[in-house]
Every structure is written in structure tokens, then in C-alpha cells.
């Protein structure tokens, strides 16, 4: 039986939520940003702003040049996560085979359920109607329907915004011929460039290429590419009830210009280590491999290395000390950096990790537990490292719009 996959993609999501909450913004070009300054970037543009060619990721100064009337709105991650939980609740009512792909996208396998709703198109229309009624008129979604995730996403993109698109089997050959490889989900600029170098520009050409060649060039991913090129996609959904455990826990932060001096960036990094450690403790993990990196300039190179701790840890100070070791290994010594990040991998369950016998370590554990209790009760900003007071508060959702699966608390 051919699968029926729905790809639900919210339209101009953050901007639409802002327009829903604030009617004065409706029908006007708005750009959601981290901070409404010219040095920030546009995280989401309303459909009115998109008409002026304002896109996600565009620097604010450039967006204002393209659209002088652009209204800048500070993002509100709590608001977006809350609405995400609401639309996910609606989708959960249709199928248990629901994959929450991101804060504004989900896949649904409705092979069994669609006939009960009059077919997939009627079902998609019903979902969109419920979004309008229960979330608000401004918060719309486009739904793509196909037999696989990649093609559902691809066909949906052609019906944006606020539409429903279905790909039937007989339409696949035309789609393969007309679709550039770069517009396919999962094929980034680097893979696209490598494909172009060997003369592969469309999905059809990808399907015509030999499987052995693609496997040699791209490994196991080459087999997936070949399958997509032949109009098949058997990629399974990862239902929200069956999310695999995290492989690593990390945070990164793009630095505002006043924080780009290396010593100040280290203070931000210390705070990020604290956030990573707190999240690991909340998830019940400890980790041994600490990866730390930074970027020089807004489009400059990224430098990163990792180190392995003698014992797994979930302590912010220990992770930070490991980061300093890592930074010592990186030979580049920049005066200014634009981004810092830390992640901890090689995770093991905290309940399967022996406790240290050293008194100092045990006191540190007790301190972390006490700090966690205070934050659980009074909020994450209630108790902070003294050093972090030297810089402006770092948003809890680093980068403004980070979302981890544990943020959604769905399981």
C-alpha cells in the first residue's frame, strides 16, 4: 500500500503569530528579529514583507533598504512555542504517526486515517480550517501530500502560502524533470555543487546517474539521493512518541558587536556551558566529549575542536574548563569573534554514571542540585553566575529562536 504523507508547514510562522497577536501589524510588512536594530537579522518575514524580497536571514539594514516601511518586531519564542504546542495538539488528533520536524513543520503518515476523513485533500482542508478557527485567521499552513516526506515537502512548497498540494504518481516524471536538485530538502549548497560538477542538475538526472557512482561519491546518502531521483522516498517518519535519545546537547550564540571581543565572548561561553549543563541535568544525561568552537566574522571561517573528559560530567564549570583546553588547541587567536558554541556528546544516563568520591565534586553536585531547584521554582534568570552580569542577559532560547525537542515537552 502506498503511503500517504502530509507535510504541514506553517506560513511565515513567527511573523504570522505576531500579526495574529497584534492586529495593528496585519497587512503590513513586518520582520521578526532578535533585537530590532540594524545590526540584527530578519528571522521571519511576513508575506507582505516577502513581496519586497525580504527573506529570512537577511541583515536588517539590507531588509530596510529593500523595504523602507518594514516594521521590526522583537521575537517572542515563548509565544511561538505555545502556538506550536497548540497546532501539534490538533495534529495529534488525526494520527499517532506524527513527526514534529521543527517549531513550524510536521510530517503525518495518514495512510490509515485519510479514508475516514474523505481522502487526504479533505483531511488537509479540515486541518487548515481547524487552524484558522482555533489558532486564528493569520496563522495559516500549507500542506503538501505525497507518498514520501521529501516529495510532500517539495510539492507543498509550490502551493505556498495557505494552500494544499498533492502529488499524484503520474505527475512524478514531470516533477523530476523540472526540479533542480538544490531545491530538494536535504540537498544543501555543497552537495548541489558536487552534483553540478558531474553534470547533475535536476532530479531526473540524479535518477539517471548510476547508483554505484552516487554511492561512491556520497556513501549511504548517495543511495537515498538515487531513490529520490527515481521518484521514490521510503524515509520513515520518526513519531513524536518515539524520538531517539539525543546524541549531544549544545548551545551556540551569535554575538552582538559589543560582545565580540574575545574575553567577553568567553563570558558568554561560560554562560552557555551553564545552560548546556542545566539541560543535561534536566534530561538526565552526563557527557564526556566536549566540542567548542567559534566563528570569526559574520561569514568567516569556523574553528572548532573537541576534548574528552576523564569522567562524564553534567557540571557547567567542568565543561567550561574543557572548553578552555579546546580553545588552547586551536591555533587561531582572534581578537574578535562573531559566534561561540559548545556541545557535549558521548552521553550516558546520569543514573548509570558512578558518583565521584572526591569531596569537592560532591559539593559541586550538591550546589548544582540546589541551583536547579531554585531555577525550577523561580525561573532560569533567578540565579546566575556573577561573571554573566558583565554582559547583557543572554536569551534562554539562544539565538532567539532555538527549539529543542525537550522544549515542547511532548512524549
Amino acid at each position: 500500500m502506498r503511503r500517504v504523507i502530509l507535510h504541514v508547514d506553517m506560513d511565515s510562522y513567527f511573523a504570522s503569530v505576531e500579526q495574529q497577536a497584534r492586529p495593528s501589524l496585519r497587512g503590513r510588512p513586518i520582520g521578526v528579529t532578535g533585537r530590532p536594530t540594524e545590526r540584527s537579522i530578519v528571522v521571519a518575514a511576513s508575506r507582505e514583507a516577502k513581496r519586497y524580497k525580504v527573506w529570512t536571514g537577511m541583515p536588517v539594514w539590507e531588509a530596510l533598504k529593500a523595504c523602507p516601511n518594514l516594521i521590526l518586531v522583537s521575537g517572542n519564542p515563548d509565544r511561538y512555542l505555545s502556538v506550536t504546542k497548540q497546532f501539534i495538539e490538533i495534529l495529534k488528533g488525526y494520527t499517532a504517526l506524527l513527526e514534529i520536524y521543527s517549531v513550524d513543520e510536521a510530517f503525518m503518515d495518514v495512510t490509515q486515517e485519510a479514508p475516514k476523513h474523505g481522502g487526504p485533500i479533505r483531511m488537509a482542508e479540515e486541518i487548515r480550517r481547524r487552524f484558522r478557527e482555533e489558532l486564528g485567521d493569520c496563522i495559516t499552513a500549507t500542506i503538501g501530500i505525497a507518498s514520501g516526506k521529501t516529495f510532500a515537502k517539495l510539492i507543498g512548497a509550490r502551493y505556498k502560502p495557505d494552500g494544499v498540494g498533492r502529488l499524484d504518481d503520474e505527475e512524478i516524471p514531470e516533477l523530476l524533470e523540472s526540479t533542480p536538485v538544490g531545491s530538494v530538502w536535504g540537498i544543501g549548497p555543497r552537495i548541489e555543487a558536487r552534483l553540478k560538477r558531474v553534470g547533475i542538475r535536476t532530479l531526473k538526472e540524479l535518477g539517471d546517474a548510476s547508483e554505484a557512482f552516487l554511492k561512491r561519491e556520497f556513501g549511504a546518502y548517495g543511495l537515498h539521493l538515487h531513490e529520490i531521483g527515481r521518484g521514490c522516498d521510503s524515509t520513515p517518519l520518526v513519531p513524536y512518541t518515539d524520538v531517539p535519545p539525543p546524541k549531544s546537547v549544545g548551545h551556540s550564540k551569535s554575538l552582538s558587536p559589543e560582545l565580540r571581543d574575545f574575553p567577553l565572548a568567553l563570558i558568554v561561553l561560560r554562560d552557555l556551558c551553564d545552560q548546556v549543563a542545566r539541560r543535561m541535568r534536566r534530561l538526565g544525561y552526563m557527557g564526556r566529549t566536549v566540542h567548542c568552537g567559534f566563528r570569526v566574522g559574520s561569514i568567516g571561517p569556523h574553528y572548532g575542536k573537541q576534548t574528552t573528559l576523564a569522567l562524564p560530567s553534567d557540571d557547567g564549570e567542568t565543561i567550561y574548563e574543557a572548553c578552555l583546553v579546546v580553545l588552547g588547541k586551536i591555533r587561531v587567536k582572534p581578537e574578535r569573534v562573531s559566534n561561540v558554541g559548545v556541545s557535549v556528546g558521548n552521553l550516558v544516563g546520569a543514573d548509570r554514571t558512578p558518583r565521584s568520591l572526591w569531596e569537592a565534586d560532591r559539593r559541586r553536585e550538591q550546589l548544582n542540585r540546589a541551583v536547579d531547584r531554585i531555577r525550577d521554582r523561580f525561573g532560569d534568570r533567578s540565579i546566575r553566575l556573577g561573571t554573566s552580569l558583565l554582559v547583557r542577559p543572554i536569551p534562554q532560547h539562544v539565538g532567539g529562536f532555538f527549539m529543542a525537542s525537550d522544549d515542547l515537552e511532548i512524549g
Binding site: Q20, A21, R22, S82, G136, R375, D376
Partner: protein, 77 residues
Amino acid sequence: MNEPIDALVIYRRGAPHPLLRAFRWKDRRYDVTSTHLVHRERDGETVCLVYSVDCGGDTYVLRLDVGRGRWTLEAIG
């Protein structure tokens, strides 16, 4: 603004949050003509519902501290 208010709400079975019908601020009653958005915010143990509503053409932002059952008017316009 953080102004304390009295609120008239309906707890409807199956609704994700209480439905705000009217509120009283500074001895004046404001009837809610439409609800634009309700979202949830959490800070530690404090869970709040933030309502963006319309009363006669103006938008009001109100906050319900769920644990304390306390309503406040946060912003107008």
C-alpha cells in the same frame, strides 16, 4: 502596566484555556469582542496565560497568573 483587574471568564469543557469575556479596570467594564491569541509562558513554577483581546476596536494584553488566579492588564494598543 501591570495593573490588577477583575475578569469575567468561562471555563468551557475541552477548551485549552479559560475564555475571557470581559474585565473591569479602574471602575470601567470592558467587553471582549474577540480574542486574537492566547499563549502560555512559564518562568520557574509560575505559569501564565497571556491574552491578546479586542474590546471595541482597541487591543488589550492581559495576563493570568494561573497558580495565583490573578489577572493583570499588561498593555493597551
